[in-house]
Amino acid sequence: MAERTLTFVQAINEALHQAMERDPTVVVIGEDVAGGGGRAAQGIEDAWGGIMGATRGLIGRFGAARVIDTPISEAGFIGMAVGAAATGLRPVAELMFMDFLGVCLDPLLNQAAKLRYMFGGKARVPLVVRTLIGAGLRSAAQHSQSLHAFTTAIPGLKTVVPSNPHDAKGLLLAAIADDDPVVFCEPKTLYFTTGEVPAEPYTVPLGTAAVVRPGGAVTIWAVGRMVAVALAAAETLAAEGVEAEVVDVRSLSPLDEATLLASLARTGHLVVVDEAPPRCGLAADLAALAVDRGFDLLRGPVKRVTAPHAPVPFSPVLEDAYVPSPAQVVAAAHAALET
């Protein structure tokens, strides 16, 4: 088949179309996922299609019964989505920015994640919550957070973070088909990056990491937008004669420990790169995995590259200093190799 290039957001959009096409129980719920409040009469139904166009065209194709604009009531509509998931639908809810978890944690933490367990296995909650993460758009402290560790920490939820258009489509289709609640984090600065995306529906299974660059000297585990940062660092390192192996973690929960540790076994040195601040984050989680199950493989310290322990600043110079850079990853690789 001929190559076909889509942007990240087009890949998401295509996955939503295909999932809704194949399964009439899939519904899309969120603020302005159509836009204009579904005012078909005035011909302005699909005024927005999501703030960055991810849900564009859905209402025209599938109608207002399945593409549901909501009031600004995240706890209400995500809670509704949980209830709907437990009673026969497969809702895909859009939480515009993951920062807004602040106003709607309960339906995820205490309901979606726990219903099945609390009910002794009698419930299924096939819910997907799509949400934007990451800094870089000069949107300051309340619109730039990467809170994927919060949902990874919650037993009963699954969490994925695609790093490219191909995985975005495949992981989203897998998430929608999954019978458990999945938090699907979309790094917003990747939205208009492009990549090859097959036209037919396909899935990237949850619980699989991917080696995106082979190398024998040092392993770099990275997630989301940080995969590209790790790859850029690997280029610099290669120029120095240090071949880094880059692994895209991509499925945070379930975690593909085998692929991660196999890479560590090949290199013995490890850098973990994550866009969130350091405390109790994914980088710490993965470093802990390394030092527990992978201790015998380690020939040096595990170095983490993360955002600092601070809110995301607005000013471009500060924000640029905030987000982990290839240079920081290179330095960390040096430190990891130093022992």
């Binding site: 009031p71 009531s73 706890a75 209400g76 809670g79 209830g83 009910f119 458990d180 527990d292």
Partner: protein, 328 residues
């Protein structure tokens, strides 16, 4: 307005079962025979019974921490429920949920809920399913006066109104949220007035009167089934026991509960009415009482005979499917 004899007996049986269940649990809990904390709903039977009389298994209810009555009224098996409260393997949730999470999705019981207000959006979601899947079903959210001050209440009611969903919001105003009287936690006499803020009908009902609840709920549920949208029903009721078993009840006048029991007891009111109207005879009711007493006693025996869960099941049912959980 009368009801067929069978419906009357069903209503009474539901209320009597709830009463007997709760009284038995109060004793068992005080005697230390049930683990954890219990929130009992004795006194509030007419609400659960009057509302659920209109519901079938395709209809859903979402409940609260004070959820035994709703579960019983929605047809959850008594033995399995009692075993759950004992934390046993044969419990309806295999011992994983306990009193605050009694649930049976097959019966449309979406669970008691430990989060005040937490069940309300779940009911809205069940209503969305009914609407999208055209099941003809409706959903009911039960919650307390205290829960009416949670953001989840507000968002859920507005959302249901905006989407015109088939859901009925049943506010059980028992006068208190924990130790705090409703006169303190809200500056309105009737919380039902909040419905107007969502463009939704709201009504106040005597929650001690089975017939009043039955009539008002019937109307609201019919509206919902007809696709005419949600209703808020405030049922003024009362809990006889404390907030939890063991509550010293320092916050309410000593004679308040006694007065309610003497004057407004939902079972007494029911009995007086059906006997006065000649719809049922006292003997009919006593027969139900006996059957219920036997059933509850049997449930306790069943629960006590049930083995505890197997600790090996600790990690079961966290997910439908999860490749190797992390070691810890």
């Amino acid at each position: 307005m009368s009801l067929p004899r069978a419906r009357l007996l069903d209503g009474y049986r539901t209320m009597r079962t709830i009463r007997a269940f709760e009284q038995t649990l109060n004793e068992l809990s005080l005697a230390g025979r049930v683990p954890g904390f219990l929130h009992l709903c004795a006194g509030e039977e007419a609400v659960a019974a009057g509302v659920c009389a209109h519901l079938g298994p395709a209809d859903a209810v979402a409940s609260t921490h004070r959820g035994h009555g709703h579960a019983i009224a929605k047809g959850v098996d008594l033995d399995a429920m009692m075993a759950e409260l004992f934390g046993r393997r044969d419990g309806i949730c295999h011992g994983k949920g306990g009193s605050m999470h009694v649930a049976d999705t097959e019966k449309g019981m979406l669970g008691a809920n430990g989060i005040v207000g937490g069940g309300i959006p779940l009911a809205v979601g069940a209503a969305l399913s009914a609407k999208v899947l055209r099941t003809g079903g409706v959903a009911v959210a039960f919650f307390g006066d205290g829960a009416a001050n949670q953001g989840l209440f507000h968002e859920s009611l507005n959302l249901a109104a905006v989407l015109a969903l088939p859901v009925v919001f049943v506010l059980e105003n028992n006068g208190y949220g924990e130790a705090t009287p409703v006169e303190y936690h809200a500056r309105v006499r009737d919380l039902a007035v909040r419905a107007a803020g969502y463009g939704m009908p709201g009504a106040v009902v005597d929650g001690m009167d089975f017939f009043a609840v039955h009539a008002a709920a019937g109307e609201a549920i019919l509206r919902a089934r007809r696709g005419e949208g949600p209703t808020l029903l405030e049922c003024k009721t009362y809990r006889y026991f404390g907030h939890y078993v063991g509550d010293p009840l320092t916050y309410r006048p000593k004679d308040e509960a006694e007065r309610m029991r003497a004057e407004r007891d939902p079972l007494d009111l029911f009995e007086r009415r059906v006997v006065a109207e000649g719809w049922l005879a006292t003997g009919d009711l006593r027969r139900v009482d006996d059957e219920v007493a036997a059933a509850v006693a049997a449930a306790v025996r069943h629960a006590e005979a049930s083995p505890p869960p197997d600790p090996a099941d600790l990690m079961r049912d966290v997910y439908v499917d999860y490749p190797r959980p992390p070691e810890s």
